[in-house]
């Protein structure tokens, strides 16, 4: 099974020893400190950037910096860079399915009516009538057709 030699566990990189022993890439301690330094710099950047307003790009910038930090942690602190590639696939597949989850959920929910600020019910913005799938309010919702206030349908508002 195993060769009789004992190998010193030094920083070889990828060895193809067939002796069945565990061989890992061991980085120098300074390298980990360097990655930590980069992470701190990215944190400072993300905090400073948050004080400026880039409109709708705010979220994207924040997520971009966060992903850079996460990549550093995953690749080097969690050793994915020098590990079997399949571990990286397992890790990334979680984000892939999360993306599908977010995509399909938002595609459904954001195609419904907008929230009416006054009453908190979901209404179609052009007409103002209550959207299907939105919750009803006991308060009066002005209807699209002129004249006549309709009664809200039953339930008291569930939100607080």
């Amino acid at each position: 099974m195993s060769s009789s030699e004992s190998h010193a566990q030094e920083a070889h990189g990828h060895d193809d020893h067939d002796d069945g022993k565990v061989h890992v890439h061991i980085a120098p301690a300074k390298f980990y400190w360097g990655i930590f330094g980069a992470l701190v710099v990215l944190t400072i950047i993300t905090v400073k950037v948050s004080y400026y307003d880039f409109g709708s790009a705010n979220t994207i910038i924040a997520l971009l910096v966060a992903t850079m930090k996460a990549s550093l942690v995953a690749a080097f602190f969690m050793h994915l860079r020098h590990d079997k590639l399949f571990n990286t696939f397992a890790f990334l597949s979680a984000f892939l399915f999360l993306g599908i989850f977010l995509l399909l959920t938002s595609d459904d929910l954001f195609k419904r009516g907008r929230t009416d600020n006054a009453y908190g019910t979901k209404v179609f913005t052009p007409t103002g009538e209550v959207a299907p799938g939105g919750f009803q309010s006991a308060m009066v919702v002005p209807s699209a057709s002129a004249g006549g206030h309709g009664e809200g349908h039953g339930e008291p508002p569930k939100h607080h």
Binding site: M1, F91, A94, F97, G120
Partner: protein, 233 residues
């Protein structure tokens, strides 16, 4: 770790070689990490939906969070990730005492994180910024409903209605994360005890490696939590 007939003690009977055992353990841990990402992901999707619906509400409400405490917690967790990685490295080169030292520092950083969180949470309780129907009533150890009637939207800070949704998400996400911090600490304490007893060597450091991987996951989640809750309006 003396080998009997070429078989190390730590090698379990259903594995052929230590390398195969180590690879299997690692893969198992990564699959578990994937499930944890999906669990937190559920809350992140909820955050995305509620924020998409009520962007202005989120913008007003998130300013009540203390950015400085959040940033401090971020640095503390990043540092603890560093010491966890250094602990694994020390185990890989067989330096037992150094491994223990780095594990202790990591656990200490986790305690600091929880203390800062404690101060944040108590501040929220005193301000009445609680999730759900308690919103608007400062918590003095009584049931909030005893203050008379359902809670009104908080008007002291001039928060718009439905601001309690932000705090519901805040407590759920940071609470679940805090629970994982406690779990990660327990795992690291267990690994520390095993290390002190001398169970690990350059040939067998799996516990340290996988325990540190769990801790890095906790850090990863916070890396995303911090900007989305504290920084982005």
């Amino acid at each position: 770790m003396s080998a009997k007939g070429g078989h190390p003690n730590f090698l379990q009977h259903h594995f052929d070689t230590p390398a195969q055992q180590f690879d299997a353990s690692k893969l198992g841990m990564w699959v578990f990490i994937a499930t944890e990402i999906l669990m937190f992901g559920g809350l992140f999707v909820a955050y995305g939906i509620f924020r998409g619906n009520d962007a202005e509400v989120f913008f007003s409400a998130h300013q009540l969070l203390d950015k400085k405490m959040g940033a401090l917690n971020t640095i503390v967790l990043l540092f603890s990730s560093l010491t966890a990685a250094l602990a694994v490295r020390s185990a890989q080169v067989g330096k037992r005492q150094q491994t223990s030292l780095y594990l202790v520092i990591t656990i200490a950083c986790a305690c600091i994180f929880l203390v800062v969180k404690y101060f944040e949470y108590t501040h929220k309780l005193h301000d009445g910024l609680l999730p759900g129907h308690c919103f608007g009533h400062p918590w003095f150890g009584d049931k909030c409903l005893d203050h008379g009637g359902p809670a009104q939207p908080l008007s002291v800070e001039g928060l718009p209605p439905r601001a309690n949704m932000f705090f519901a998400l805040y407590f759920a996400m940071t609470g679940l994360h805090g629970l994982h911090v406690v779990l990660g600490m327990s795992i690291l304490v267990w690994v520390l005890i095993k290390n002190i007893k001398g169970h690990f060597s350059p040939e067998y450091f799996t516990h340290v490696d996988l325990g540190a991987l769990y801790w890095h996951l906790v850090d990863l989640v916070w890396i995303y939590l911090f900007p989305l809750l504290y920084l982005v309006g």
